[in-house]
Symmetry: C2
Subunit: 311 residues, 2 copies
Amino acid sequence: MTPTAAPGCEGFLAKLRNAWKQSGSMLCVGLDPDPRRFPLHLRGRTNAILEFCAGVADATAPFACAFKPQIACFASAGAEDQLTGLMEHLRAFHPQIPVVLDAKRGDIGSTAEHYAREAFERYKADAVTVSPYMGGDSINPYLAYAGRGVIILCRTSNPGGADLQALPVGLATARGQVAPPEAAPFAGHCALYEHVAHLAATRWNAGGQIGLVVGATYPGELRRVREIAPDLPLLVPGIGAQGGDIEAAVGAGLDRRGFGMMINSSRAILYVSSGGDYACAAARVAEQTAEAIRRAARRQTGDAHPAGGRR
Amino acid sequence: MTPTAAPGCEGFLAKLRNAWKQSGSMLCVGLDPDPRRFPLHLRGRTNAILEFCAGVADATAPFACAFKPQIACFASAGAEDQLTGLMEHLRAFHPQIPVVLDAKRGDIGSTAEHYAREAFERYKADAVTVSPYMGGDSINPYLAYAGRGVIILCRTSNPGGADLQALPVGLATARGQVAPPEAAPFAGHCALYEHVAHLAATRWNAGGQIGLVVGATYPGELRRVREIAPDLPLLVPGIGAQGGDIEAAVGAGLDRRGFGMMINSSRAILYVSSGGDYACAAARVAEQTAEAIRRAARRQTGDAHPAGGRR
């Protein structure tokens, strides 16, 4: 099997840019199915996970620039066939919206090739999330799929993310000294997440396929990542249940074209209603969230914002 | 579902210590099935992956202290049912040998709970490998399963591992200064992997469930990890195909009881023969590898080694 771009498809980044423009939205709808929170009429149904996610996706598609299925939710339920069905559904009915498989994989060599095959051949995702801990050669097997997106964890939305990501780092020299990293804002150190952002924006990104995960819960760090990586698409979790502020996140993360972010919301959209109207209720909140993001972007860019004339 | 220890089972660490003593072996047999390299008589068979892995496990069990199925190999092939079957087979026929599910997961909160459920409830693994990049709170959902093992990536066996893991790190202070980490060998910095080893051996390890992944390809770093974490079990990949030296790895990583390591070999054992004798051929190499590890340990500890009287 030779890694290639998705047959007949443009690359992830082109698809995402087009989705930003066409929808005027930077909302990413996270598909994190939890059967314990499903509407009563779906509980116990054989394909409940697929039906639930497809229902939410169909209803929220007009307000979304991306979908992000969380593979852990399918894996814990042994529902790989339903994930396959969902990915087929998204490709068939929403081909213009890129799908980021949230898997946060990280391994080396032949094992990473297996994970890349899982994401890009088995599930045919447009992009996948990965961990940078094992370094550049652990990311190459994903990049070998030309045009597919590889979204690298940078500064995650959880407080414990700081345990490693906020550590001041230097560069080891051959003489046993410590030199300042390229991303250091002054002579000395930078935080590990800044160094990851720098690697992702430069050395690791030969094919222009890379994006970064940066939590909305840390707008100061989000702003630093945008400075270091002015052109990378950012996947931004942490609004809604985790308490991140839309206004602050948009102010920190917009790119110079006035887009640049996939601001993710999962539970706050998925579980608005546990009645038969769950999809419409999800659409209502998705529309409100997309509009709140758009308003925040307009406040940043004024009339210059490409989505400025909408609504 | 309430996280608990495996029903009727001792914890991972007790099981591993017992396996070290009973087998006198520190060999971990990595089960990384690649159907393209299977014996001819298995190719095309419905359950070829399960048959192949079970065959290798049965033949190598006398020489193994642990089995390590690589979940990526099953995921790329859509073979979750065969992984389930393999785990059932290992529990039924080799209940004394702990099984480490190599998944290298890393995520937060409810998503990490899903991954923990995948590893410990769906597949009923004794231990799982995880990434430290997202910090301590990303590891807690696995630790909530009392007695299960959580093996954290520390210094991986690939050259690119140095991209992040070898970076000199300090600790940020409230006053914007950089303080030396607890694991710093002198006043100043330590490498990121040393800091991870320190966190894993102290703050993160309240329940005594944690182990570390350290590559045999970097014996100097392996020795440092053993100094920082004298009692943690180490999963040591990188001998065989990756070129790590058994003698150097054992010299660097033994604990004070003369064990302390699961030295992994996968491809060098699995694909010795592509004939009908593949399992016996695998057993032969497993026995030789376990014996080479034992000899190296004896050279380190002399008559004091608990496996010294064997063979």
